[in-house]
């Protein structure tokens, strides 16, 4: 057990600067209009730094820098780019604890997760795309004896990326790694709730990249995100967020005829078949942990298993054991490595979760545990903490249909396989799902029948590079975490070459 000193306190391994400007063209540049906004930590609610409030003018400057850098960067060899990505990964690995604590302070999440998941996954992601770009090959087609069609992968040029606040560093790397590997220059806008930790990362790795290849403009969606997403000077926009903004981004993209990748919401079912309880063994214990996974990252995960479907035969016993497991979750100071669940990322997020718990109760759902805001005392009283909450209800209720983005799971029972699939697929979304069964045929069939882009079978919330991640239905467009994402950051150049010396004879 250990507890990290909070940034700003004596002995902390992280030292946030009092202010962060935009990172444009390889250097820090103050915002054109001179505005800054305060950035509080969700751990205590206290402001710990201020961040540039970007506007269209700053976005234009970043686009200038990116356009200046893109041609040369796009011509570097895959080997050169892979070396840079690997060096970035090495620097992050050497500073894992520092990044983990910085991220925990920024977002409110428990450092046991940033130490074991967020930062190690980000490191591995860079290495994966370093390898993927080295191994990528173009194709050629022999059209006839004298004619060959060569297919080259070429970068798009300058791309825009808008990052969410739930995994500020990991989600940035998910998007940056394929974009940079493919040879694009990037203008990236972090979420306004979590604008600072990426600058700690930049402090470690920025010198590895040629100036202008990566530009970070902070600010609000309406003031900085919109000028970026709607700019005719980007060749692609990538966004993680929700449906209405996803539609708006597609509208802007349609005006400029550019491609988009979107990672939107989910209301992921986690399905437990009767045979899970065939024995009280290690697998049963694993399944109980699988149920409790809704509390990972305080439930602020697009794939949060926020609907638990339990088969009738084991319903009472499995649910009772699950609730007991949930009640053992330790909530506390996110910088304590014993803490399992930390703070929600912002005050409005906390308020939204409480408003959903309210409508859940009004609709007649039963609170089996939790259901309240948590006051952890001392300095943490100002932070945004919610008790892990288990609701029992019906799939038509709002708490079963809308992403709460908090540590809240809604539980219902099902009769048989067909009933499970009907409930699982009765949702607007299709990002993730979990299936728990000892019977491989049941697990396989369910995995194929569920309309979701990622189905975890007998596990949940694993995000290894080399496993495609993305949504069905209203959950988005594109597949991250896999080399197929390179396709979304490249365009195909076809060189159609004639080796014949003879005229066609038409003219």
């Amino acid at each position: 057990m250990s507890k990290y000193a909070a940034p700003g306190e004596e002995g902390s391994i992280v030292s946030y600067q009092p202010r962060y400007d935009h990172f444009i063209g390889g250097e820090y540049v103050p915002p054109v209009k001179g505005g800054y906004f305060e950035n509080p930590t969700p751990v205590t609610g206290q402001t710990f730094t201020e961040v540039a409030r970007g506007t269209a003018e700053d976005v234009e400057a970043a686009l200038d820098a990116a356009h200046g850098a893109a041609p040369a960067w796009g011509r570097t060899s895959a080997a050169e780019r892979a070396v840079i990505l690997n060096k970035m990964a090495d620097r992050m690995e050497a500073n894992l604890e520092l990044l983990a604590v910085a991220e925990s302070w920024e977002n409110g999440k428990a450092c046991r997760e940033t130490l074991a998941a967020d930062i190690p996954l980000a490191i591995d992601h860079l290495r994966y795309f370093a390898g993927a770009i080295r191994a990528q090959e173009g194709h050629l087609s022999q059209i006839d004896e004298n004619t060959v069609a060569y297919h080259f992968h070429e970068p798009l040029g300058v791309v825009g990326q808008i990052i969410p606040w739930n995994f500020p560093i990991l989600m940035a790397i998910w998007k940056l790694a394929p974009a940079l590997a493919a040879g694009n220059a990037v203008v990236l806008k972090p979420a306004e709730q979590t604008p600072a930790s990426i600058h700690v990362l930049l402090g470690l790795v920025a010198d590895l990249l040629p100036p202008g290849v990566l530009n970070v403009v902070n600010g609000f969606g309406v003031e900085a995100g919109k000028p970026l997403a709607s700019s005719p000077r980007i060749r692609k926009i990538a966004f993680t967020g929700e449906t209405t903004t996803g539609r708006l981004i597609m509208q802007y993209a349609s005006e400029n005829l550019i491609p988009v990748t979107l990672e939107l919401g989910g209301k992921s079912p986690n399905i437990f078949f009767n045979d899970v309880a065939a024995a009280q063994d290690a697998f049963y214990d694993k399944a109980l942990e699988g149920f409790a996974m809704f509390a990972l990252n305080q439930g602020e995960v697009c794939t949060c298993p926020s609907r638990a479907l339990i088969q009738r035969g084991i319903y009472e016993d499995f649910l009772a054991a699950s609730v007991k497991r949930v009640e053992q979750i330790k909530q506390g100071d996110p910088l304590d490595t014993e803490t399992m669940i930390g703070a929600q990322a912002s005050n409005d997020q906390l308020e939204k979760i409480m408003s959903y718990i309210d409508i859940g109760r009004q609709e007649g759902a039963k609170v089996l545990t939790g259901g309240e805001r948590a006051d952890l005392g001392g300095a943490l009283s100002g932070g945004y903490y919610v008790q892990p909450t288990v609701f029992e209800g019906d799939n038509r209720m709002r708490i079963f249909q809308e992403e709460i983005f908090g540590p809240v799971v809604s539980v219902t029972r099902f009769e048989d396989y067909a009933d499970a699939m009907k409930i699982a697929n009765d949702t607007l979304y299709g990002l993730g799902a979990g299936v728990w069964s000892r019977d491989t045929t049941t697990a396989y069939r369910a995995g194929r029948d569920i309309q979701a882009g990622r189905v975890w079978v007998n596990n949940y919330h694993a995000y290894p590079a080399h496993a495609a991640f993305g949504g069905y239905k209203q959950s988005g467009v594109g597949r991250e975490n896999h080399k197929m994402m390179l396709d979304h950051y490249q365009q195909t150049k076809n060189l159609l070459v004639s080796y014949s010396p003879d005229a066609l004879g038409f003219f």
Binding site: F37, W165, D348
Partner: protein, 128 residues
């Protein structure tokens, strides 16, 4: 017409007046899903392209504003929400998405209650 599906708090109304002065006529589109979702997004009227996939939930009359503020939601989402009445409130927060209130340090928020049977009777068929 009968009952209404949407309303707003006095605090939200005051904020709308301030935002109207900066951004012109406004509209809401209720978002679904992820990080900043499940929240009402406030845009300059016309910024967000509406279509056949959207339902007009109602118009909010705001004292001091010449025009009502339209509230919309995607039709698919409405099917899961139609039994509830929505009140747009505002709380301190960091905002998000491209909603225009974010730089003010506040966030619009939906508070919900179940529609009564009488309200459901009055509203049935009046939307869509």
């Amino acid at each position: 017409m009968g009952g209404s599906r949407v309303d707003l708090t006095p605090q939200a109304a005051q904020l709308l007046c301030r935002l109207r002065a900066v951004h012109g006529p406004l509209m809401f589109h209720q978002s679904g899903g992820c990080c900043d979702g499940s929240s009402p997004m406030c845009f300059p009227l016309g910024e967000f392209k509406l279509g056949g996939s959207d339902v007009h939930l109602g118009d909010l009359a705001v004292d001091g504003l010449a025009e009502p503020v339209q509230v919309w939601m995607s039709r698919a989402q409405f099917e899961y929400w139609r039994h509830t009445h929505l009140t747009i409130d505002v709380v301190p927060g960091r905002g998000s998405g491209f909603s225009v209130e974010a730089p003010e340090g506040v966030r619009f928020l939906i508070r919900s209650r179940l529609l009564t049977e009488q309200e459901l009777l009055e509203l049935d068929g009046s939307v869509g």
